[in-house]
């Protein structure tokens, strides 16, 4: 089958990455269709939604390169499957990762299905990751641009999902993508990269969250000394390891968030990031996804947060959709975030961190 008989639906966001993705696939001879996903009703006080401007950029690029383009509305799916999870996790004092959920439930489920219904053989996005299809075998690898690698957010994709996915940017450095956009003179060639979570956009995170969840201020307590360190604005606003925005300091260096107590509504802080209290040696995680089958116990490297350096770990599959991940020492491992496992550049899979331990002792305050 030649590429022209292969239909690829590209998820176009109106950004430079997905614009170049569409153009590259077209250059490779695929039958390309661009589709814009509208996942959030973000109309501002002037009645303008950024989605309008992003869609306008999709239109411009699609017209420039000569592909049909459409929109699809997943506001309801996004609200039910991503945003609700996001709020629920914050209510539990955890730090969720909505982008992981968005990829799992929207971009590579609802959108993938929409594309398949339209007769697509593949969907493509502008993610910095690589996927290799070799007959029945499917592997996901880190993008060659280590600084932009987005496999952390894609860790929940199954083999079935990945078998229908193309990531043309995985082989490229970000600067190459900009250069290509200039070479092809795409309308989005100089567009700023979007930052933050899509539904929050450029708005202040605190004020956004407070419109959905009641903020419940309480006390900050030094976890090591028991000393009262003043007021916090609400546990949901803080994440483990956070240094900024605590409003406390003094001799002995900066303070860090070390944990939360949901029952007493106390925020635990420690002074100095070398504090033992932030360190752990193992974790339990659930919602386990392995792209390909694994042994019951295996060695790997892992990331506990996006853009952290990998550390060596031992993984034990516990059954019941749980794994135990052990390591020498890691700081500020945070429940709600993903643990993503690698074998060299290959993504083994990932899971959601539930609880954290030091030498077998459950660190209850680490929430």
């Amino acid at each position: 089958m030649s590429n022209k008989d292969i239909t690829v639906v590209v998820g176009m966001s109106g950004g430079v990455d997905s614009s170049v993705t569409a153009k590259l696939l077209l250059e490779q001879g695929y039958n390309v269709i661009g589709i814009f996903m509208k996942n959030w009703d973000d109309t501002d006080e002037f009645g303008v939604c950024t989605a309008t401007e992003d869609y306008e950029d999709v239109r411009l690029v699609a017209e420039e390169i000569g592909i049909p383009y459409y929109s699809v509305n997943f506001e309801k799916e996004y609200y039910d499957r991503v945003f609700q999870y996001f709020l629920d996790e914050y209510k539990k004092g955890r730090t969720p990762n909505p982008d992981v959920m968005c990829n799992k439930e929207i971009k590579f489920k609802a959108f993938l299905e929409h594309a398949m219904k339209l007769g697509a053989d593949y969907v493509a996005t502008g993610h910095y990751a690589r996927v290799e299809h070799d007959g029945e075998n499917v592997r996901m690898l880190r993008g060659v641009d280590n600084n932009k690698d987005q496999t952390y957010f894609l860790n929940q994709l199954s083999k079935e999902q990945l078998s229908k996915v193309l990531f043309p940017l995985g082989e490229l450095e970000k600067k190459d993508v900009r250069e290509l956009a200039h070479k092809y003179d795409l309308a989005t060639k100089d567009k700023k990269d979007s930052t933050g979570i899509c539904f929050i956009g450029e708005r202040d995170f605190k004020s956004f969250l407070s419109t959905y969840l009641p903020a419940n201020p309480g006390r900050m307590v030094n976890l090591e000394t028991g000393e009262d360190k003043g007021k916090h604005d609400g546990l949901m606003y803080y994440t483990i390891g956070q240094r900024q925005g605590l409003g406390i300091g003094g001799d002995g260096g900066p303070y860090f968030v070390a944990g939360k107590n949901l029952e007493t509504n106390e925020l635990y802080v420690v002074q100095g990031d070398s504090s033992d209290k932030l360190n752990s040696t193992s974790l339990l995680a659930s919602e386990v996804n392995f792209i390909n089958p694994v042994k019951d116990t295996f060695q790997a490297t892992a990331k506990f947060r996006y853009r952290q350096k990998d550390i060596p770990v031992t993984v034990k599959v516990l059954g019941d959709d749980k794994i135990e991940v052990s390591y020498d020492s890691a700081s500020a491992v945070t429940p709600g975030q993903a643990v993503v496992l690698y074998d060299g550049d290959t993504v083994i899979g990932g899971a959601t961190i539930d609880s954290v331990y030091r030498d077998g002792e459950f660190l209850e305050y680490l929430a």
């Binding site: 509208k38 939604c49 992003d54």
Partner: protein, 378 residues
């Protein structure tokens, strides 16, 4: 291959009309000018007005040209209530956006009442009677619905409204091609029409305004249109509009027969193909140029995309600025939003090839089969 079945959205410019516009393009003078070139343009323009008035059984001075029917509807509604804070006005739940959104805007300063429709799309006349008050200023009604083709019993409505002494505004944009319009017979105070639904260019509409009816002008800046609508007259488009109205008026019966056959053919072809669907509204109460169908097995947004990829241009609901489909408020008012989310409007003209109707049914069947075979239909 492409099949256009979205004539209720707009029509192409008729070739004869286009040629006649080009032939008359030399009459470029400003009708307000004193010189002969201006007078030539004035005569040309007033000729269009006079001929259109004749077709509507109106007086020439009762016709005001506008840029669109949207402008005309805005002019009627806003121009009537202006300076009358707290006025009571009535409209229906199935109006075109240009009336619906304008009434929504009035809610800030006025009292707006909405009449319900039944599942055939007909307005509830008893409700209208009970809503009408001695101080009701204006009632706006769409004669032929732009989503379903439902024809309102306008003579009865007119009688009810006039008995109470309110002003009656009829949006006849979708009606004129298929129903004769006689403003005297309809006993209305305002009536609006659009050129681009009748093979004239986009950018011309009109407002019939009954003699001696007060209307505050929205656009000021000149004495054109008897000071009802300022702005240099669009003489060529008014001419095109005149030709379009005459053409539609002369061929109404013939066109009605052709489109009735097209509509019936699509229904039969879909039945023959075995594609599950239901008709929105009652075809006995509709014009034939619109067929609005409910497809229980998929959503409007998906189906419009799939049809477009197959070269079939239909519509459903309205598009938001980000390109997604907003379900039709008309189908929602008649049924519910779930049904509205799964409905498509096909709209015809006499120019649609009957073979294309068979093709539409085939494509729909192909889409349906693919979804079904792939397990996308529960």
């Amino acid at each position: 291959m492409s099949i256009y079945v979205d004539y209720a959205a707009t029509t192409p410019i008729d070739e004869k009309i286009m040629n006649s516009m080009l032939e008359n393009a030399s009459k470029f003078g400003n009708p307000s000018s004193i010189h002969r070139l201006g007078k030539e343009a004035k005569a040309f323009y007033e000729g269009s007005r006079k001929n259109i008035a004749k077709r509507l059984n109106a007086q020439p001075e009762e016709i005001i040209f506008t840029s669109s029917a949207t402008e005309a509807n805005n002019q009627v509604i806003r121009g009537t209530v202006q300076g009358k804070i707290g006025a009571h006005v009535i409209t229906t739940k199935t109006e075109h956006a240009s009336v619906k959104e304008t009434y929504a805007d009035l809610e800030k300063e006025h009292e707006v009442t909405y009449v319900d429709v039944d599942d055939k799309g007909l307005i509830n006349l008893e409700q209208l009677k009970s809503q009408l008050r001695d101080d009701t200023l204006l009632v706006s009604i769409i004669l032929v619905n732009n989503e379903t083709g439902t024809i309102q019993p306008i003579k009865e409505i007119s009688k009810i409204v006039k008995e109470k002494g309110a002003l009656l505004h009829i949006d006849a944009v979708q009606a004129f091609k298929y129903l004769p319009i006689d403003v005297t017979d309809l006993n209305c105070d305002f009536l609006t029409l659009s050129g681009h639904k009748l093979y004239a260019p986009k950018g011309i509409g009109l407002l019939y305004l009954k003699s001696n009816t007060h209307l505050h002008s929205l656009i000021t800046g000149g004495s054109q249109e008897r000071e009802r609508r300022a702005g240099t007259e669009n003489t060529l488009f008014a001419h095109a509009f005149r030709l379009a109205i005459e053409e539609a008026d002369d061929n109404r019966d013939k066109n009605n027969q052709i489109i009735a056959d097209l509509k019936q053919s699509l229904i039969e072809a879909l039945e023959a193909e075995g594609v599950p669907f239901e008709i929105n509204g009652d075809i006995e109460l509709q014009t034939s140029h619109i067929l609005n169908l409910y497809f229980p097995w998929t959503e409007t947004e998906y189906l419009l995309t799939a049809l477009d990829l197959n070269g079939i241009y239909a519509s459903g609901g309205s598009a938001c600025n980000a390109g997604t489909v907003i379900p039709s408020h008309v189908i929602t008012a008649m049924y519910d939003e779930a049904r509205s989310n799964r409905s498509i409007r096909f709209s015809f003209s006499e120019k649609v090839d009957k073979n294309d109707i068979t093709q539409i049914a085939k494509v729909l069947n192909k889409i349906y089969k693919n979804l079904n075979d792939s397990g996308f239909i529960n």
